[in-house]
């Protein structure tokens, strides 16, 4: 992966001037490269990782991982039905996977009730959906490479040879 992408993936706040400093590059060239990545859709979005366990409980969300069995459509395979599913705003992630079911859908909602209603009223009754199994998420330990726990400060001594 290009170094610019690697740096931004680690910290999206890194400014082009800083990336230029780190990579012995020219700031204008870095800016240009980032623009190109954005235009090509290589860079889709800049996000912040928030540990929602630590924010007020009324803002907390419920997540469920749903195994979905579907009947693929002629000529379109799984893509069309996947699109119909992931277009719902309740769907946070959607993956086509190998194994005993076809799609793994991550659904987010205010509470168990909203998630259940989505599964019962929207997802399960869709044409081509043969069945679903819902797993409510109880605790998140790590997400996208980030451990969701404040780590203790590094205990190095402040000065050494």
């Amino acid at each position: 992966m290009d170094e610019i992408l690697e740096i931004l993936e680690k910290d999206a706040r890194t400014r082009p001037e800083e990336i230029a400093g780190m990579t012995k590059n020219d700031a204008a060239k870095v800016k240009q490269a980032i623009k190109k990545y954005e235009k090509e859709g290589v860079i889709l979005k800049y996000k912040t990782v928030i540990n929602k366990e630590l924010i007020r409980s009324e803002d907390a969300e419920v997540r469920a991982l749903i195994e979905v069995n579907i009947v693929p459509q002629k000529d379109l395979g799984f893509d069309k039905i996947a699109e119909r599913i992931y277009s719902f705003p309740e769907v946070a992630s959607c993956y086509l996977i190998s194994g005993s079911y076809d799609l793994l859908v991550v659904v987010e909602g205010k509470n168990i009730h909203t998630v259940s209603s989505f599964v019962a009223e929207k997802l399960s009754c869709m044409e081509n959906v043969r069945g679903t199994v819902t797993h409510f998420l109880l605790k998140k330990y790590k997400e996208d490479g980030v451990v969701l726990k404040r780590r203790e400060e590094n205990k190095r001594i402040a000065i050494s040879y």
Partner: protein, 384 residues
């Protein structure tokens, strides 16, 4: 007290910057660019291997020389990486870091009054450990030669009492390193005068600009080189205290003799973890190395924009920075920077005489800290 403490120990001067270190340790919220160890935590699978070894009940002594499987892994690693061949039976000794390895090497070869050539600036222990072993350190200031020992400087510093030269590359505190050609030239002098080379290559895996050449891999160098390396810097394992020394059988046997009576063996947990590091740690080294490289470029540019210059380091994680522009000596610079802007650096005089217009800056800190530190140094310089 003077009757109680040995003359040899009493003669060793306590470091002049100890008081400054105490000052740093007593202050809160300091951004420290003065740390001589990685900011990364030991990669998980290595820590996990240590934990697992404890769970399995590996809590005993090991062979004095160290676990055979670790010595074998080191032998394989050196062969695959550098084409260097050492017999794990009697040419490799596991030590408590390079520090112990160097101490053992010096104590094994020095007779009272023997001289050891030490290019400066250098890591703080080389001189005192030489003196404790009964030797005489011959310091060679390399400032005017890009902080590198040249064949001429080396030859000029050798006389009939010279026993060895200590090399360290990539170097602490300058980050300089030597190309194969440069090392070859030094080796010619070493061979000509039949002295030993004690080669501290603890930063070997952190060589950024050109491939690292172990001194022992040079033509005819193996028999008069003691190769010292370890896991501390490359695998972020400073606290585990595992290093190794490789060399001719007779020297390793002599070093093992001292080691067995003083240390017995390196803790088994650390040795087990080091085995894991050699087997699975390559990817982690690469990742950390890339990060250090970026920080190096960033700081070189940042310091340069403030008019602070340093020799471009080819490895390790230090910038030996000239502070002439500030018009202060190193101690004053470091003390005031700490008090006024809460940024800690190490005064250059810690690394030898004649470096009081230098400070050592470590880039073992994350980008947020480095950015903040550069801003604070800029404010500090403006207010001078």
């Amino acid at each position: 007290m003077s009757d109680i403490i040995s003359k040899k120990v009493e003669k060793i001067q306590p470091s002049g910057i100890r008081a400054f270190f105490d000052l740093v340790l007593g202050m809160e919220d300091v951004i420290s660019l003065g740390v001589g160890e990685p900011d990364f935590v030991t990669p998980w699978q290595i820590r996990e291997a240590g934990i697992y070894s404890l769970e399995q009940g590996f809590t005993s002594y090991t062979s004095n020389k160290g676990l055979y499987k670790l010595r074998l892994s080191i032998a394989n690693h050196l062969k695959n990486r550098y084409g260097l061949e050492y017999n794990p039976d009697d040419e490799i000794l596991i030590t408590v870091g390079v520090s112990e390895g160097l101490d053992l090497a010096l104590r094994s070869i020095i007779n009272p009054g023997d001289k050891i050539v030490i290019p400066t600036p250098c890591y703080v222990s080389y001189g005192p450990v030489t003196e404790l072993a009964g030797g005489i350190p011959v310091y060679v200031n390399t400032k005017d030669y890009g902080f590198k020992l040249t064949p001429r400087l080396l030859e000029k510093s050798i006389d009939k009492r010279t026993k060895a030269v200590v090399l360290n590359y990539p170097a602490n505190p300058t980050g300089i390193s030597y190309t194969r050609k440069e090392l070859g030239e030094l080796n010619k002098i070493i061979l000509k005068h039949k002295i030993l080379c004690l080669s501290d290559e603890i930063y070997a895996e952190l060589a950024y600009d050109f491939t690292h050449t172990p001194f022992a891999s040079l033509h005819q160098a193996r028999n008069n080189t003691i190769y010292l390396d370890g896991f501390s810097k490359s695998y972020a394992m400073t606290g585990w205290r595992v290093g190794f020394a490789c060399g001719p059988r007779e020297i390793i046997a002599a070093m093992t003799k001292i080691h067995q009576y003083t240390i017995m063996c390196v803790p088994i947990t650390s040795q087990m973890a080091a085995c894991e590091a050699l087997h699975t740690g390559k990817k982690d080294i690469e990742e950390m190395k890339r990060e250090y490289q970026r920080r190096r470029e960033y700081l070189l540019r940042g310091l340069g924009s403030l008019g602070l210059t340093c020799v471009r380091p080819a490895g390790a994680f230090y910038l030996f920075t000239c502070i002439d522009k500030a018009g202060l000596n190193d101690m004053e610079f470091a003390r005031r920077l700490l008090k006024e802007q809460k940024v800690a650096v190490v005064p250059g005089s810690a690394f030898g005489n004649g470096f009081d217009n230098y400070i050592r800056i470590s880039y073992t800190s994350n980008f947020d800290n480095l950015k903040e530190a550069i801003e604070r140094i800029a404010v500090f310089l403006r207010k001078l």
